[in-house]
């Protein structure tokens, strides 16, 4: 593509972002642009839309179409026990500390279709904490929350997830947590007993509770530094003193304004603790 075509494309994306915010109240202005451009191009290719003006028209006219667009722009790709060492570290370093509280509250922010949530719930179950823990699972996208609530995943992922489970220190038979049918696996709904699902937009919504542990992985990489700062402040505000924060493998508090208020619990697994 020619430079002036790309300039135009990028200007039109800015106008689209403004229009979507005005129409639907979803604010994407704090999303890192290179990734947004790529997602929008992908979506336009799939839907065979010739340009942004056509996309904008369709998105604003049809809220169902917008849902699909939202789905594409907010990357939902996830898996169970993604980076098993993170979950192993939670099990070894964080859960034993949380077990000293009579009631535990955890926020899984940007939980997508629930694979990360079920990984966490299984850990809690095995460490004997599930019954006294409330987990708030949130995402900007209602559709993924619905899928998370169902807890049904394709059977072809089982081998990888089973390996992840054992690498994360799994203590039982992984298959004891789900039933298989019709090419899928469904996680036991007893795991979800203390889970609350809510739509929550990290870019615009406020703190809604205080937590002993917040997990937010592979969400902040899509945000600009400015929006990241805002979300870190939100997490800071939403953690009890000595609460823990777990980020994605390539996300770090190092450059964040709040970093001086946190200590590093596990550097390579990006686990931090609020000390001030």
């Amino acid at each position: 593509m020619k430079d002036d075509q790309e300039d135009l494309f990028e200007q039109e994306v800015e106008a689209l972002i403004t229009a979507i915010n005005a129409h639907y109240g979803y604010d994407f202005s704090g999303y890192a642009r290179a990734s947004v451009y790529r997602r929008i191009r992908r979506f336009m290719d799939n839907k065979r839309l010739p340009g942004i003006p056509e996309l904008q028209q369709a998105v604003l006219r049809d809220s169902y179409f917008f849902e699909g667009f939202l789905q594409e722009v907010t990357v939902n790709v996830t898996e169970m026990f993604r980076d098993p060492s993170f979950f192993l570290s939670l099990r070894q370093h964080v859960l034993p500390r949380l077990s000293t509280y009579p009631h535990i509250k955890i926020w899984d922010a940007g939980c997508s279709t629930g694979e990360e949530l079920f990984s966490l719930l299984i850990l809690l179950e095995e460490e004997g904490l599930l019954k006294r823990t409330k987990v708030y699972a949130t995402d900007i996208n209602q559709k993924v929350l619905k899928e998370a609530r169902e807890g049904i995943y394709p059977a072809r992922s089982i081998a990888a997830y089973t390996a992840g489970y054992y690498a994360a220190g799994g203590k039982r038979e992984f298959s004891s947590y789900y039933t298989s049918n019709y090419g899928g696996i469904k996680f036991n709904s007893s795991l979800l007993k203390n889970v609350l699902f809510y739509p929550h937009n990290l870019a615009t919504d406020f703190s809604f509770n205080e937590f002993h542990l917040i997990i937010c992985r592979n969400v902040l990489i899509y945000f600009t530094r400015e929006l990241q700062e805002k979300v870190y402040a939100l997490f800071d505000e939403s953690l009890v003193p000595l609460g823990y924060l777990g980020l994605g493998k390539k996300e770090t508090l190092t450059l964040a304004g709040i970093s001086k208020d946190f200590e590093v619990i596990d550097k390579s697994n990006r686990i931090y603790r609020k000390i001030r």
Partner: protein
């Protein structure tokens, strides 16, 4: 950029650091591209370059069965750096990178492939050459000379 196993913490960085006088590092998200550095794409993330020369990471779908995908990074670098990019495709077992190399050439950057006759696996450089017939075909020795000339 290297296609490698996911969840693999193999310490490529120190392997290269031992051999090079340059700073070698695995990319952290939002880090800014700076002169005199060699950056390695982290396993399991796509790498994109923003206008302000910071890196964005992206864990979305595989592209060409790969994450990181060379196409993704080359295309975004071509957009941001234009003539200031040289893209080199070395030995590799799929055609990832060929579209990105084309984008680099179209923006006036330098497109190079390793001579497929010499590459251990010719698929990747051959695909690059097919899509950008005007690209330069260099032996490893020549690639080395070229990179040294940049320092």
């Amino acid at each position: 950029m290297l296609h490698r196993l996911r969840n693999n913490d193999s310490d490529l960085q120190s392997v290269y650091a031992r051999k090079l006088a340059l700073q070698v590092q695995e990319i952290e998200e939002k880090e800014t591209l700076a002169p005199g550095n060699v950056y390695i794409a982290p396993p399991n993330y796509h790498v994109l370059l923003e206008k302000d020369l910071s890196f964005s990471l992206d864990s979305s779908e595989l592209e060409n069965f790969s994450r990181p995908s060379i196409d993704v990074t080359f295309a975004s670098a071509a957009r941001v750096l234009g003539k200031g990019v040289a893209g080199i495709l070395l030995s590799g077992a799929n055609s990832d990178g060929s579209k990105g190399l084309k984008a680099i050439a179209e923006k006036g950057g330098l497109a190079i492939v390793q001579d497929p006759a010499e590459a251990e696996v010719a698929t990747m450089p051959a695909a690059g050459l097919r899509l950008t017939p005007a690209c330069r075909v260099f032996t490893l020795q020549k690639i080395q000379d070229f990179l040294t000339s940049l320092l």
